[in-house]
């Protein structure tokens, strides 16, 4: 073979190896966590190992739409994961256990199912039990219907309620403990011992509710609601979010029947602007629903995602659809 031919063939071989071999090799050395919408597989991988105290460096990419990453019950800023691009984060855990990571940008109807776990220091799959939620202690059946027979004629005003409350001696029922364990309707009933009109009683109820939260908490609750709840429950709490129709359609078509009724099938999200149901719900009941989720109704379980404080803030915000908080 002529030397020029040999040279040419060598050049070709080198170019091909370079163009194909090098990227291929580098690709095998680049472990990425791929995010897909839940319908296409979710997180891949969805279980990550880590060690206490050792920084965990994670690199992500999305294979379809924009996603995000955050770890539940950890105080951290979420990291956006853009399609076709790589983002990263470094986490350090000081306690062993199983942490849940989740998607933070709505990526479809099943966005909330996009979760995975980080197993820190080879903990056993059974996590140590969390503290018993209030609704369990109180013995509440959070799936039972809750309807207030009497609802306010107009949106109650905490401003008026504050002035009225000063004329009453209701310290024993103004405590935080009372607030978390009782529904607004219950407080309304307990106010029957006073001489207030119906609407005045509701005003006092709304004031009591407002005094059990702070503007900061409400703002936090609003932010959490917008990012996590509004897509199904609606931006104004009316249960008419962008996915409401899809949930209802899924329920109609699946007719998942437990115990002979339709209580546990996918359904339209709860309407927080509906006073009948909302005013008969105590914060403990709402906390239960948020923690545990809806058992097939499409309501996600947030127990591993939100901290307790976040859930109370969110609950406080939910009542703002019923009361004219300022």
């Amino acid at each position: 073979m002529k030397p020029s031919e040999l040279l040419a063939r060598s050049l070709i071989t080198v170019a091909i190896i370079g163009a194909v071999g090098t990227p291929l090799f580098l690709w095998t050395r680049t472990p990425l966590i791929h995010a897909h919408i839940a319908e296409n597989g979710g997180w891949s991988p969805d279980v990550i190992q880590a060690e206490v105290g050792k920084p965990l460096h994670l690199r992500f990419t999305s294979d379809d739409v924009i996603h995000g990453f955050a770890v539940g019950q950890m105080d951290m800023d979420a990291v956006d994961i853009e399609p076709g691009k790589v983002s990263d984060i470094t986490l350090t855990f000081d306690k062993p256990g199983i942490y849940t990571f989740f998607c933070t940008r709505w990526c479809g109807l099943n966005h909330w199912r996009l979760r995975g776990t980080i197993e820190v220091n080879g903990s056993s799959p059974t996590p140590k039990p969390a503290s018993v939620p209030l609704y369990v202690t109180l013995g509440l059946d959070i799936d039972a219907p809750h309807n207030a027979p009497i609802v306010p004629g107009q949106l109650p005003s905490p401003f008026r309620g504050e002035q009225l409350a000063q004329t009453l001696s209701i310290e024993q029922i103004a405590t935080h403990e009372y607030y978390v364990s009782n529904s607004p309707y219950q407080l309304y009933k307990d106010l029957n011992s006073t001489n207030l009109t119906d609407s005045e009683k509701w005003d006092v109820v709304s004031y009591m509710w407002q005094s059990n939260t702070t503007p900061v908490a409400l703002a936090n609750g609003q932010k959490l609601y917008a990012q996590n709840c509004a897509a199904c429950h609606g931006e104004h709490g009316a249960g008419d979010g962008v996915f409401a129709d899809d949930l209802k359609a899924a329920g109609d078509s699946s007719k998942q029947n437990m115990m002979g009724d339709n209580n546990m099938s996918m359904q339209t999200p709860a309407n927080f602007a509906d006073p009948t149901r909302m005013l008969a719900a105590s914060p403990a009941l709402l906390q239960g629903k948020i923690l545990r989720g809806g058992m097939g109704t499409g309501m996600p379980m947030w127990g591993v995602i939100f901290t307790e404080e976040q859930i109370w803030d969110l609950i406080a915000y939910l009542y703002s659809f019923q009361f004219k908080y300022q």
Partner: protein, 161 residues
Amino acid sequence: MQSRFFLLLLVMAGLVVAFAPLPVRLIAPQERTFRIEARQFAYSPSELNVNPGDTVTIQLVSTDVVHGLYIDGYDISAEADPGQTAILTFTANKSGSFRMRCNVTCGAMHPFMIGKINVGKNEWLYRSVGFAVLGVIGFFPLSSLHAQQKMKDKSGLTEKQ
């Protein structure tokens, strides 16, 4: 010489088509609000009509994944997560037809997720049609004049092209 005169006429007609101001109906600018639902891979409504000078507010509602809305020509955009309506307000001071495009990668057909905003009339389309008409109409006399010219120049020659 005739063809040169005709060419000049064509060019002038072309300039008229390009730059002559079209009759404008003076409509007082209004404030308009549109609610646009974005899904993979279309906007609904996909075409908006406003008048020049209007203050336009677009409420972008994403119904499945995060979408954006970018307006050609105005170079403004908004991005909406499902559950969080985004508001885009601008004054429609440029008239014509502008495409709206999604500027957040939202899936395979994302580059073709397109809508249209018509501010006033699509003037440029009318002018283009004018050019096309001019091109076709002016073409015949020009080419026959050109042919006559060539015949005169080549009297006697029979070289095949």
